[in-house]
Every structure is written in structure tokens, then in C-alpha cells.
Amino acid sequence: MCLIPCPRDWPRAVIRFENVTKVYARGARPALDQVSLEVERGEFVFLVGASGSGKSTFLRLVLREERPSAGKVFVAGKDLTTLSSWKVPHLRRQIGAVFQDFRLLPNKTVFENVAFALQVIGKPRHHILTTVPDTLEMVGLAGKEKRRPHELSGGEQQRVAIARAFVNRPSILLADEPTGNLDPTTSLGIMRLLDRINRTGTTVVMATHDDEIVDQMRKRVIELSSGELVRDQSRGVYGSAR
């Protein structure tokens, strides 16, 4: 994705897992078991697998909400296993995250919800006043700035959440079943939006159960099963049997 020839040591992988194992304190079976993979800058990756297969653990490790029990996790060129906790906020500013349950603040308007992400990292007012409307327009919510989340449809709420995740122009966007609560038509709209964000050079990693979407998009598919990496296929489909 370099506009000029890339330096030789330029890390092409924005996410790299090296033999990562994650065992939660009381769980007998590891949530992730010896997983090694790389996600390159600008890629769009589907993370598929049954519930409990380790998809969410994978995303939490990238966000450094968890530390691996063994192995190494590199994100944006940083080794998260040795990253000191006071540097974690800076890491997270390079990562946007979207969830199935939207996680919007009910007492703030659409504009305020998106602006919140910039306010809390100390961005100046003028920056917020120009960036937030641009981002809202990009996700297709122009004119709905003053609405509250409960006045919006599920698809629109997810667009607000995506706007909030993307407003700081992160290099990575993580989406944990972003279409899980939405009907197929609305889901398609959300996928178009994520695809558009991906085209700006943002790496997108999306965990999903939605086979139709995966089959339609024909992007790289990584399948986890009981914490093990069982398939890594470029331009893949949801089920390996198909």
C-alpha cells in the first residue's frame, strides 16, 4: 500500500500472531491454541467460526484487552506482549472497533456520540467540528446529527458506531459481528460501508456468522475452530465444505 517504494524493513503486516495461545484463568481448554497468522496493510479479512471458536478472543488480543498466555502479538509494528500499559491508549487510537450491540451512549446525539471519541483523546474543537460532519456524511447519516440513538434504526445506529470507530482515521478497523443484529438488506448496506472504508487503505478484520455476506464479498477468510486456525483462504467462502 506504499505510494512510494516501500522501505525494505517496512512491516507489511499490521497484525501478526506468532504461536499465540490464550488460556483464560479458569478455562480448561485454550480459547486460542497456537495460532500464527499475518494480516497485511489494507487487507479485508473475515474471521469465521462457531460461537466459542476464539474469534472474540482474537479481536480482544489485537486491542490488547487481553494478553496472550503464550506467543507474540504484533499490531501496527508494536509487540503487544511487551507494550507497557500506559502506551495502550496510543495503540487503541490506531484501531477502530465496532460491535454487534453498537455501544452508543443513549443520552448523547449522533453528533455527540461520534465527537466523544475525539473529545476523550483531547482533539481540538475546530478539528472535531470539521471531521465529525465529514465522517457522518461518509457513513450516510448527513442530516441526522441531532437524533438520539433510540430514534434511529438498527442499521443507522451501527453506522453511528462505525463513524465513531473511523472518525480518528485508524489504520485498523475491527468489527465483531457488526451485522449480527441486522436484517440482510441492512447488513448489505453496512458491508458496503466497511468495504468503502477498506478502500481508503484501512485494514478491516470482521468476525462474523453471516455466511451470505462472506460468500458474496469473496475476501480472505480465516476460520477458527475450538481456538485452532483451521483455514486461511484468500477469496474464500464461509463454509469450507462449499
Binding site: 496510543h90 451512549l105 471519541a117 483523546i121 483531547g122 481540538p124 465513531r164 470507530a165
Partner: protein, 304 residues
């Protein structure tokens, strides 16, 4: 943007837990009132010492006509004994501690006695011959009483060496006990205040878990996430300190200056100026309380 944002967050937090905030304010108010009262009692003792110790003397009573004391077995003090006592006071190892020495004769003592007790029936029988002559010694440092006592006590012709400061001891004892009581109550109330602030911050953090969750997700720094909670606690505690200062000020103004000051005027009292001296200290204690409570709570409830 940041300051405005943090201020609005604090406002939301305080309103959301209004009853808890009020109880924090009240508990800090009461506890700091006790802290302030203890400080003022000590200042009162200090004011009395400053004013009285300048006036007090060490009295060396010389043997009168018939005394039961063993050192007075030889009858009334002789001129030799007087001269020896005076010489002891002039000795080079004692002299630096002494500012002035004044000899009070029996006649002078009798005059003072008559003036003081002229209305008492039993005073009429007393004559100048019953009086003690004495050395009245003003020390350059009133606390160095022992130096004089060591030199003169037990000497023939000296009936008693009396430190007038002793007269205040029982009063100071009462005031010191009152200070201890005040400090004890303050300690209990301060503990209650810390626990209450801790609970308040915890509640506040719980009720804003959604916000703090998003803050962490988008990469807000720890300080930024925790600052509103800390300031909330600090604000409530400072408000309590303000009330305590106000309460103590009113107490000193109306109870001490206006009431005690007009009924018993010979005692030097603490003034409202002293209240302003301890006010910053109370505010610092309040902020310290809030800071300790915040650190204990927030590290558990809003960590990255």
C-alpha cells in the same frame, strides 16, 4: 474542549449521585470541623502560653518565721543564706538563663497580700511578720525552670521554689484532653469520609461504565478517564472543607470572640484570623482524603 468536556462530565456525575455527593460533603464537613477544632485548641494553648509565660516568674520563697519545712529548721532565713542564694543565681552556669531577679521583702509581700485579700476575715489576723520574703526571678526562657529549681531547692533558708507556670498546668491539661478527644472523633469521622468517598466514586464509576468502556476503546488515556471521578470526589470534599471553615469561623466569632471574650476578658483567645490560618490546611486534608480514596477505587474500577 478538554476542560469544558471534563467539567461537564463532573457536573453529570455529581448530579447523578446527588444524595451521595451531599453525604460526602456533610461527612467531610463534620470530620474537618473536628480537625479544625483540635487545631484551634492547640492554637489557644499557644496563645495563652505566649501571653502568660512572658508574665510568669519563678518565685523562690525564703523561710518565714515558723515553717515546717526541713530546710527551714534553722528558723527565719538569715542574711547569709539570702546572700548565698543570690550568689547561686549569679553563678556563671545559671546567670545566662535569668533575665532579672527582684527581691520582694516581707513588707512588700504584705502590701500585695492586703491588696489581694482585704475583704477576707482571716486576712485581718495576718501581719507582715507572717509573710515570706522571696526572690522573684524572670527567666529568659520560661521553660528552663528546672535550672533554677536545681540550684536553689533543698538549700537551707529556702522554703520552696515555685514555678508559676504550674498554675496553668491543670487548665492546659483540660485543653490538651479536649484536643485528644477532638482528634479521636476527627479520626473516626475521617475514616467514615474516606469510605464514603470511596463508595461514591465506585457508584459513579459503575453508573458510567458504558462511557468509560468507550473511552478506553477509542484510546483515551487513563488520566483522562479517571480525572472526572477524582475531581468529583475532590470537589465534594473541598465543599465540605469550605463548610467546616465557615462553621469554625462562626463558632469562633460568636462563641469565643463575642461571648467568651466579653465575659472573661483577661484570657487571650484565638481569633477569626487564626481560622484563616488553618483553613488552607483543612482544604489540603480534604483534597488528600479525596485523592487517597480515588487512588484506591479507580485503580480497581477503571483500569485499561
Amino acid at each position: 474542549m478538554r476542560l469544558q468536556f471534563i467539567l461537564s462530565e463532573i457536573g453529570i456525575g455529581l448530579r447523578r449521585n446527588l444524595s451521595m455527593t451531599i453525604s460526602v460533603v456533610l461527612v467531610t464537613f463534620v470530620s474537618l470541623t473536628f480537625v479544625g477544632a483540635a487545631a484551634l485548641l492547640q492554637m489557644q494553648i499557644g496563645a495563652m502560653k505566649d501571653s502568660w509565660y512572658d508574665k510568669v516568674e519563678v518565685s523562690v520563697f525564703l523561710c518565714p518565721r515558723d515553717s515546717q519545712k526541713p530546710t527551714c529548721a534553722g528558723g527565719e532565713v538569715t542574711d547569709d543564706q539570702k546572700a548565698a542564694a543570690k550568689a547561686a543565681l549569679d553563678a556563671p552556669d545559671v546567670k545566662p538563663y535569668i533575665q532579672t531577679v527582684y527581691f520582694e521583702s516581707k513588707d512588700e509581700a504584705f502590701t500585695a497580700f492586703q491588696k489581694q485579700f482585704k475583704d477576707q476575715w482571716w486576712a485581718a489576723e495576718t501581719t507582715a511578720a507572717d509573710m515570706n520574703s522571696s526572690y522573684r526571678i524572670k527567666l529568659s526562657d520560661p521553660t528552663k525552670y528546672q535550672v533554677v529549681a536545681d540550684v536553689l531547692s533543698g538549700r537551707q533558708g529556702v522554703e520552696e521554689v515555685q514555678d508559676q507556670r504550674r498554675l496553668f498546668d491543670s487548665l492546659f491539661l483540660v485543653l490538651n484532653r479536649a484536643t485528644l478527644l477532638s482528634v479521636g472523633l476527627a479520626a473516626v469521622m475521617l475514616l467514615a469520609a474516606v469510605l464514603l468517598i470511596t463508595t461514591t466514586i465506585r457508584l459513579s464509576a459503575m453508573s458510567r461504565r458504558r462511557e468509560t468502556g468507550i473511552m478506553r476503546l477509542v484510546g483515551a488515556s487513563n488520566l483522562f478517564i479517571q480525572l472526572p471521578f477524582m475531581l468529583e470526589g475532590a470537589l465534594a470534599a473541598t465543599l465540605g472543607a469550605g463548610l467546616a471553615v465557615g462553621g469554625i469561623w462562626l463558632g469562633v466569632k460568636y462563641l469565643v470572640t463575642d461571648w467568651l471574650g466579653s465575659s472573661i476578658s483577661w484570657i487571650p483567645y484565638v481569633t477569626t484570623a487564626d481560622v484563616w490560618t488553618i483553613a488552607p490546611f483543612l482544604v489540603v486534608v480534604a483534597i488528600g482524603l479525596a485523592a487517597v480514596s480515588s487512588l484506591v477505587t479507580l485503580s480497581r474500577y477503571t483500569k485499561v
